[in-house]
């Protein structure tokens, strides 16, 4: 089989990732530097919210916020933020908390609803969007336009995921710089490493594609994919599962390394379930994940591992993608989603399925098409 015949959007996007990261970096830098100093100091807590991939970008960036700004940071589901979260969390002190809302279209109802609620209760709001004229951008106090070229290919989301994460990292760095919780030296070095790390990983993508294609051929008829990841790596796990669903509508499930041992371990026909584990040697739960991988081995499930650790740490018959180590641990989720994205992209092509069920009219009705925007009522609680 010739890999060239199975070109797909996720592959094309990942091959141009460095180029796009640089565009976003250049666009975002002057904008984050305008976030007022007083507001940064006023932010006693930080909330990051969004739907789907945007929420995951928040989870992925949470360790960056915690370690750089030293502030309590919550990555929260859009519906939890707009409907469930206790009012007490909003506006108890001027400009607090700082709420970062992500939506590239700027039209997702739930995110607009969250922004309106935050503004009404006296919190400070920053929108991350590709549309500075959107309702979201207009609702928030500040807007950061990621400046992605209009004609790019962004579906299923990959570049957008990285753009959200990059912008979040840069906001964290701005806060860290203003609050002096990182030194100017660290600030410069972290900024540089963002681009250097991207560049180092970009060089590996062709190689990943080769291996991803092999795995895709083996995995295309599996019953499901099961993802395991802790904390920030949970975002990578969840993101992988979302790509499976978007690319070919496959069955997926996900959990953290501890709860997996209590629940998903018991899934039937383990040999027909592909397990995908993301872990890094610096993560506090590295030891726990290794134990979990031993349990995966007992089940004889096909397993791929994305890590910066040495291949020898893991059982021999598992597919280990050793990706470059980032100088700062919190950067890993920025690039580690790519190996599995490529697998998902190739499986979609091998199955001959269109992404987002475009080939099925059932998914193309008014009720389906309006489900995120006009089909959902905005309520301020």
């Amino acid at each position: 089989m010739d890999r060239k015949n199975y070109d797909n959007s996720l592959l094309r996007q990942s091959l141009r990732l460095e180029e796009y990261v640089n565009i976003v970096y250049r666009n975002v830098l002057p904008q984050v530097n305008k976030i007022p100093v007083k507001e940064i100091w006023d932010a006693q807590k930080i909330f990051i919210t969004g739907c789907g991939d945007s929420w995951l970008a928040g989870i992925a960036a949470k360790p960056a916020f915690e370690s750089i700004t030293k502030k309590e940071t919550y990555a929260i589901r859009a519906i939890e933020f707009s409907r469930i979260l206790n009012n007490k969390n909003l506006g108890y002190s001027p400009n607090t908390p700082l709420v970062i809302l992500i939506s590239f279209s700027g039209t997702a109802s739930r995110v607009i609803e969250g922004a309106k609620r935050a503004v009404e209760h006296g919190a400070n709001t920053i929108a991350i969007t590709a549309n500075p004229d959107s309702p979201l951008a207009k609702t928030c106090h500040h807007c950061i336009d990621v400046g992605l070229p209009k004609d790019g290919e962004y579906q299923p989301g990959l570049i957008t995921y990285n753009a959200s994460m990059l912008t979040l990292f840069m906001i964290a760095l701005r806060i860290g710089r203003v609050r002096n919780s990182i030194t100017p030296l660290e600030y410069e070095s972290m900024h540089k490493e963002l681009l250097d790390y991207t560049s180092r990983c970009q060089k590996e993508v062709e190689g990943y594609a080769e291996r991803a294609f092999e795995i895709a051929q083996k995995w295309k008829d599996l019953k499901a994919e099961d993802f395991i990841g802790d904390y920030a790596d949970f975002a990578t796990a969840y993101f992988g599962s979302a790509k499976v669903i978007e690319c070919f509508g496959g069955y997926t499930t996900y959990d953290d390394s501890e709860d997996w041992c209590h629940i998903n371990y018991f899934l039937l026909e383990p040999e027909k379930i592909g397990r995908v584990v993301t872990v890094n040697k610096t993560t506090p739960s590295f030891g726990r994940v290794l134990e979990t991988i031993d349990a995966v081995k007992i089940l004889k499930s096909p397993c791929m591992i994305v890590t910066d650790a040495n291949k020898s740490e893991f059982p021999e018959d598992m597919e280990v993608f050793t990706v470059p180590s980032a100088k700062y641990f919190w950067m890993h989720p920025f690039m580690q989603h790519i190996p599995f994205d490529l697998v998902a992209g190739y499986i979609g092509e091998l199955k001959g399925v269109k992404s987002f069920r475009q080939d099925d009219p059932k998914y193309n009705t008014d009720i389906c098409n309006n489900r995120l925007k006009s089909g959902t009522e905005i309520k301020i609680i």
Binding site: N33, V37, K38, R177, V178, R179, N180, T183, P184
Partner: protein, 135 residues
């Protein structure tokens, strides 16, 4: 005759680092016996100071006093970090260059006097230049 040399250093937070030895060395290298020395840094949040040092505590007093005069407020109009905004002002107020006299191959510097590199927004990688002029 003119002799110019550039130096690099890594600073700390609120650091005053003595650079007298480097300047003396440069004067010696320049073989100039009578003339002037200019020490200058091109950074906007750093400075060159001449201080009389009876010990490290004196340097600490200077740093503290500068912070009192120019506090790292959060409401400067310049919206970089408070440390940076205050640093710009300290750099302008306290100077970023210094002229000294060389006589008979030696700096005219009293025994306890030291030339210091001050970083108001460190730690960072910094540079400064020493220029010796004369004959």
């Amino acid at each position: 005759m003119v002799y110019i040399k550039e130096f690099r250093l890594t600073t700390g937070r609120d650091s005053l680092q003595k650079i007298t030895a480097e300047i003396n060395e440069t004067v010696k290298e320049s073989k100039i016996t009578n003339g002037t020395v200019i020490v200058e840094t091109a950074h906007s949040t750093a400075g060159i100071l001449k201080v009389t040092s009876f010990g490290e505590e004196v340097l600490e007093d200077i740093v503290k006093e500068m912070r009192r005069i120019v506090p790292a407020r959060i409401n400067y109009i310049h919206q970089d970090s408070p440390e940076n905004a205050a640093g710009h002002i300290k750099s302008s107020l306290f100077g970023s260059s210094l002229s000294l006299i060389v006589k008979d191959g030696r700096l005219l510097c009293e025994g306890k006097q030291e030339i210091c590199f001050a970083d108001y927004d460190g730690p960072r990688e910094r540079t400064y230049s020493v220029c010796v002029m004369g004959e």
